[in-house]
């Protein structure tokens, strides 16, 4: 090889090594990544990850071959102006062409077979006895969760599921197309109005996981988030029992005053506190906001944009559209002590 070629080859190899190091560094550094797609915690996401690993390895092999061939073609097996001799004129080679058709085809078959197998395995149309059904209803821009078998359990922003039990998410949208994305637990599935989509999974590791809407759905698409709490069976049953209990009725202090404000304010047009106020769900179909019966027990609010603290609740009620563009909740003009008391009431609804 000529000295210039050797220098080029060295330089480009070092550059390639840097690039690879950067890639690996990129993958490994930093964290935590609450929406990480590479930390599976359910049977579904583990199946996806193992496919992903296989494809990444095969893709990397192909990429290395292509890069090596390009380095060979550009730096080693070609000539430059002024070099002696004739350049090659080869423009056809049947064996070569067959090889580079058949080998990629075989690689693709190696990817396709487990792909199809996983697709079929992860989309059942029958569920075993004991499956927990969770209904997901997407709204602009928050998530509603209903538990039909747990009698009227209706909450928002966070969904609880037990480990080691088949969970069947049955999902639809109240308005436009959204997408229910919980990377560690269930991948994603679009949520389409007029259609029922499903995700079926068995979670295996208790913890708190993040989720977000991943189909552009309007002004606050970026703010339509949620949390998934994977509980042990005992903790899950406790949570269900708690959510099914009637709401706390404060009798003294700012919370009691807040309860009176709630009774007089227009909140009940959109929000339900079971047994206290709220219109029937059919009546308020287009305008309903989240069920607030046990609002105080939730960790987040407003589509999981904010932690559930009194300051954040007050900020939200004061001017929803300012913190969440396009929000359907109007400003009620509440401030000062009234606002403080209403917040105290809502937070008391544990």
């Amino acid at each position: 090889m000529k000295p210039r070629t050797i220098k080029f080859t060295r330089a480009s190899s070092i550059a390639a090594l840097f690039a690879m190091a950067a890639s690996i560094a990129g993958c490994a550094s930093g964290g935590p990544y609450p929406l990480d797609t590479l930390s599976p915690k359910s049977d579904l996401t583990r199946a996806i990850l193992s496919l992903f690993k296989e494809v990444t390895i095969l893709d990397s092999i192909v990429l290395v071959v292509v890069i090596a061939a390009m380095i060979g073609a550009i730096f080693i097996y070609s000539s430059r102006e002024g070099d002696p001799g004739e350049p090659s004129a080869m423009h056809s080679d049947v064996t070569l062409e067959m090889l580079w058709t058949v080998i990629p085809a075989l690689i693709l078959v190696a990817i396709t077979i487990p792909t199809v197998h996983t697709i079929i395995r992860t989309q059942p149309d029958k569920w075993p006895a004991g499956t927990l059904e969770v209904r997901v209803i997407a709204h602009q821009w928050w998530w509603e969760f209903q538990y039909p078998a747990q009698g009227g359990l209706d909450t928002a922003d966070e969904v609880h599921i037990p480990i080691n039990r088949t969970i069947h998410f049955a999902m639809t949208s109240n308005d436009v197309i959204h997408s229910f994305f919980m990377p560690s637990i269930g991948g994603k599935r679009d949520v389409v109005p007029g259609q029922n989509n499903q995700i079926t999974l068995i979670a295996d590791t208790p913890g708190e996981y993040y989720g977000q809407c991943t189909e552009f759905c309007g002004a606050s698409h970026a703010n339509m988030r949620f949390r998934v709490f994977v509980d042990t069976p005992e903790a899950f049953d406790q949570w269900v029992a708690h959510q099914q209990a009637p709401p706390f009725k404060p009798t003294e202090g700012p919370a009691a005053n807040g309860a009176k404000i709630w009774a007089n304010a227009p909140c009940a047009i959109c929000h339900t506190i079971r047994g206290v106020s709220g219109f029937s769900k059919d009546y308020t179909y287009g305008f309903r906001g989240p069920d607030l019966t046990h609002f105080g027990s939730r960790t987040t609010l407003a589509g999981s944009m904010f932690d559930n603290t009194p300051q954040n609740v007050a900020m939200w009620i004061k001017d929803p559209v300012a913190v969440k563009p396009g929000a359907n909740m109007p400003t009620l003009g509440l401030e000062g002590q009234d606002l403080h008391d209403l917040v105290a009431y809502l937070e008391s609804l544990k």
Partner: protein, 821 residues
């Protein structure tokens, strides 16, 4: 022979000179039209790039308030729309297709030069429509893919989506018109001896691209028509309340959308296949497989659209099928990548800026293609789709791939277009800066996608682990944008001050390099006869495999100064005002649609129709042989016949989309009326009349062909008369349904019925107008035996409309009892 309205001065030195502004406004020279497209697209590239910079500026830190949420949504929508429809497509087909197709195939112009100009003016109009929101009403903000039902009035009340709808409809007309033009040109106007397997690979790529355009755009057109009907006429094509589904939009959009990405990729493949052999001094490796792989990619591209919809719940069978077809399409693409590398292998390389971009293309496009293979596996896609991983994928194939190929072609062909080189030093800086900052901007998006960052979000929380790489990408993006300033400066400076280039500055291989730079208006003094692939190389060095080093190069006399006799033998069409006026008519119609003044729509369409008819009489010898088709095509076909067949192909997709929608929706329609309202006996009678009209059409053609124009004219009038009876039957049918309470937006059945049958009726109406125009010409004795072709063309259209009616009558009327799946 040709008595032109205005004589053109063929003695001008080259196509760029003469005529002033009026000359540019009325030009029908494919080279000037190419320059118009190029300048417009480059300006729009600056705009689209600025939109991207704004997006990245908003994302540089979490919870940023640099842009409002709605403005951000407008910016990412416009960035996508601009780059796809206003930059990449016009550069590939409008600039390079227009400039190079006639030059590479040895023709003097495209098949329909005035249509070519019209395509440009309509394109300009579409660009303005899409961007009008800067001035008034707000830009489109529903994403470039505009998913229903977010685009319905209830969720998007402003003008934003209306600009999207009307703008894309207008751009679609321009694209399909261009596609038809290039299709006929490539099929029918190749120089003698240039068989398909001797065409330059860029021509292969463009031929297949325009076929894709013809057969894919109508699906989008239908989707946009449904959206327009929903927004303006109160229909419910995408609304659940009427039993419809927003998924219809996604299917129609992606049936267009996936071929669309190959419409963008294939010309890029063609350009790379032109650049690499020249700068490697070797023929393209595996020419036959390269051609077949282009065809296979195009064919398969119609079968993969569902891979954009893996998360939508199509079911395991559909998911598996689309995963399999998407994997399949990787095979011919891989063949191309390896063939390009084999082209370079063993060659004698020259690292011009153009070559650097071409080599960069191979690597970047491969990376993008490999991430595409990941997305093709549906379960993996459930984690990756709608995340930054996808953004990384398509920017690698579209920017690192397609745009780099366009830049390679730009540096390569710039000398041919204006006779000057682009500055190589600036070019190399452009290449390295772009490559480095492109990878810095888009490679980390793979990480962000893996860490779950969704697409199309105007901001993100600070505790997601995305902060560092977003900042890194934003800063890299700003540097990337700056590197393009180098490119724009180079273009402008070099156009006026660049080093002069001769006819063949690169020692290249194909016919366009055998004529002066910039070319004369008529391209070739004498149309060459082609004996092999790489015809010009063979002319210079005697053999396609010659390296050109050892052999003495034949002193090629570049065709520059023709003799007066040679000039006299060249017939070129003159400039025309009609294209720009027709575009004005479409502008009025589009404006009317936007503001809801339907009188303005009719005025605009009327102007359009008037100009179309006038334009067909513009050249005095309209009654004689086609003045532009001087040389007999070696397929022995007339350009207009091939054109009508191409048009019929795209109309098939149009009606197939309408009919499929009807078949899907008829079982979802709620309430009355349903198909029982149809009057079978009456419609059977009008169907019979329409079929008989086809018979009369055949008799009319026979009359003209056997030299009896009066007989022919009589039968033409008979055909038109029967067509009018059919239309009368339709009018009676529609008004009686209306009186029975079936309005347009009553239910899904009514809206599908009126749309489908209404559009068909409109086609019959156009046919009747055409027949009457022909009849008038026949009565004036303008249709001789040799001109019977124009009657034949009308007949082709008329029979097609009849066949569509047979399908509609069978499926909608006769098979109306087949309702439940």
């Amino acid at each position: 022979m040709a008595a032109q309205p205005k004589p053109i001065h063929l003695e001008q030195a080259n196509y760029l000179e003469g005529g002033g502004i009026y000359g540019w406004l009325t030009t029908i020279d494919h080279k000037r039209i190419a320059v118009l497209y190029g300048v417009t697209a480059l300006i729009l590239m600056g705009l689209g790039g600025t939109e991207a910079m704004l997006v990245r500026a908003q994302l540089i830190v979490p919870n940023n308030h640099f842009l409002s949420a709605d403005f951000y949504n407008q910016m990412f929508t416009m960035h996508g729309l601009t780059m796809i429809f206003l930059v990449v497509m016009p550069l590939e087909t409008g600039l390079f297709g227009n400039f190079l197709i006639p030059l590479q195939i040895g023709a003097r112009d495209v098949a329909f030069p005035r249509l070519n100009a019209l395509s440009y003016w309509i394109f300009l109009l579409g660009a303005i429509s899409l961007n009008f929101g800067w001035v008034f009403g707000g830009l489109p903000n529903g994403g470039w893919f505009g998913y229903a039902n977010l685009t319905e009035r209830a969720y998007a009340p402003g003008l934003n989506i209306d600009y999207y709808d009307v703008g894309l409809l207008i751009l679609g007309v321009s694209s399909v018109m261009s596609a038809l033009n290039f299709f006929v040109t490539i099929v029918n106007m190749r120089a003698p001896g240039m068989t398909f397997m001797r065409m330059p690979m860029l021509i292969w790529a463009l031929l297949v691209t325009v076929i894709l355009l013809l057969l894919a755009f109508p699906a989008l057109t239908v989707g946009l028509i449904f959206l327009f009907a929903d927004r303006y006429f109160g229909s419910h094509f995408y609304e659940v309340i009427a039993g419809a589904t927003p998924m219809l939009w996604q299917h129609l959009f992606w049936i267009f959308g996936h071929p669309e990405v190959y419409i963008m990729a294939l010309p890029a493949f063609g350009m790379i296949s032109e650049v690499l052999p020249v700068f490697s001094r070797k023929p393209l490796f595996g020419y036959p497989m390269m051609a077949y792989s282009i065809i296979l990619i195009a064919f398969l591209s119609y079968g993969v659209w569902g891979h954009h919809m893996f998360a939508t719940g199509m079911g395991p069978v559909a998911d598996s099928a689309f995963a399999i077809t998407s994997m399949l399409i990787a095979i011919p693409t891989g063949v191309k990548v390896f063939s390009w590398i084999a082209t370079v292998w063993g060659g004698r390389l020259r690292f011009t800026t153009s070559m650097l971009f071409a080599l960069g293309f191979i690597l970047e496009f491969t990376i993008g293609g490999l991430s595409g293979v990941m997305h093709a596996s549906a379960p993996i896609d459930l984690e990756q789709t709608d995340s930054y991983f996808i953004i990384a994928h398509f920017h690698y194939v579209l920017f690192g791939g397609v745009l780099m190929a366009i830049l390679a072609a730009f540096y390569f062909y710039f000398p041919k277009m204006c006779g000057r080189f682009m500055n190589e030093t600036l070019g190399k800086w452009h290449f390295w800066l772009t490559t480095i900052f492109f990878n810095c901007t888009f490679f980390p998006m793979h990480f962000l996608g893996e860490w779950g960052m969704p697409r199309r979000i105007y901001t993100y929380a600070p505790d997601m682990g995305w902060n560092f790489w977003n900042k890194f990408e934003s800063i890299s993006a700003f540097c990337l944008g700056a590197s393009f300033l180098l490119f724009f400066a180079n273009v402008v400076w070099s156009w006026f001050n660049g080093e002069r280039a001769g006819a063949d500055p690169w020692d290249a291989r194909t016919l366009e390099w055998s004529i002066p730079s910039p070319p004369p208006i008529y391209n070739f003094v004498t149309v060459p006869t082609v004996h092999s692939r790489d015809a010009f190389w063979v002319e210079k060095y005697g053999d396609v495999e010659a390296s050109g080093l050892g052999e003495k190069r034949v002193n090629v006399e570049y065709q520059s100064l023709p003799t007066p006799e040679e000039i006299g033998a060249i017939h070129m069409p003159g400039p025309s005002l009609y294209p720009i006026i027709m575009a004005g008519g479409i502008f009025l119609a589009g404006l009317g649609m936007l503001v809801g003044w339907f009188r303005l729509v009719f005025l605009g369409l009327g102007l359009l129709a008037f100009c179309a008819i006038a334009m067909s009489f513009e050249y005095k010898e309209w009654g004689e042989d086609n003045p532009h088709q001087v040389h007999e095509s070696f397929l022995k076909l007339d350009n207009r016949k091939v054109g009508v067949w191409g048009f019929i192909g795209s109309e098939c997709v149009f009606f197939a989309s309408l009919i499929s929608t009807f078949m899907v929706y008829k079982s979802r329609s709620i309430g009355m009326p349903d198909a029982s309202i149809l009057n079978i006996p009456l419609t059977s009678f009008s169907t019979f009349i329409l079929l008989m009209s086809s018979l009369l059409m055949v008799l009319a053609l026979h009359g003209f062909q056997s030299g009896k124009p009066k007989v022919g004219t009589a039968w033409l009038l008979g055909t038109a008369f029967f067509g009018l009876i059919f239309l009368g039957g339709q009018v009676y049918e529609f008004t009686s349904f209306y009186r029975e309470g079936m309005l347009y937006n009553t239910n899904l059945f009514s809206q599908c019925f009126y749309t489908l049958v209404g559009f068909h009726g409109f086609h019959v109406f156009i046919g009747v107008v055409w027949l009457l125009v022909m009849a008038v010409a026949g009565m004036k004795g303008k249709i001789g035996t040799s001109r019977a072709l124009s009657v034949e063309l009308c007949g082709l259209y008329w029979h097609f409309v009849d066949i569509v009616w047979v399908v509609i009558f069978t499926l909608i009327y006769l098979m109306r009892t087949i309702n439940r799946a």
